[in-house]
Symmetry: C2
Subunit: 85 residues, 2 copies
């Protein structure tokens, strides 16, 4: 068994309103950042998982996401896995 570090990015699905992102985006021109657009906010969850290999670690984290960490109706999860340092 080895330890793997995973980053789960939970994003609102396309088409789902993102009031926080919209609010940030609207304020940017007045703050001098008119060159920044398309702001979308989400959650970043870091964790470590014990597994035999990276693929097993990934599928465990994806299962965890499906069952507990995301609301599949409005959210997508993107999982990135690497060996824990």
């Amino acid at each position: 068994m080895s330890r793997f570090a995973a980053l789960v990015e939970v994003r609102l699905r396309p088409g789902i309103a993102d009031p926080a992102g919209t609010t940030i985006e609207r304020s940017l021109p007045a703050l001098g950042f008119a060159d920044v657009t398309g702001v979308r906010t989400g959650k970043a969850i870091r964790l470590e998982v014990e597994a035999d290999d990276a693929d097993t670690a990934r599928s465990r984290v994806e299962e965890l996401c499906r069952r507990f960490l995301t609301n599949p109706v409005i959210e997508d999860a993107e999982v990135t896995v690497e060996a824990a340092s």
Copy 2:
């Protein structure tokens, strides 16, 4: 000028309490995920920025983070930049 897609991961600095992460972690064994530990929650902000090159895009986003998107006392920001698709 080109468009760049950036991902900003805003994390609590080491040592700063993360009640959400702790709550998730404590519930995992009962949910059958005792192999998952070290849960830390944060924010994931995606945005697009117009810039001459990737380095300029990165420094613009880092400036935006320092000034508006993070609380430097308790948060760190990690910026990833790539050409927009």
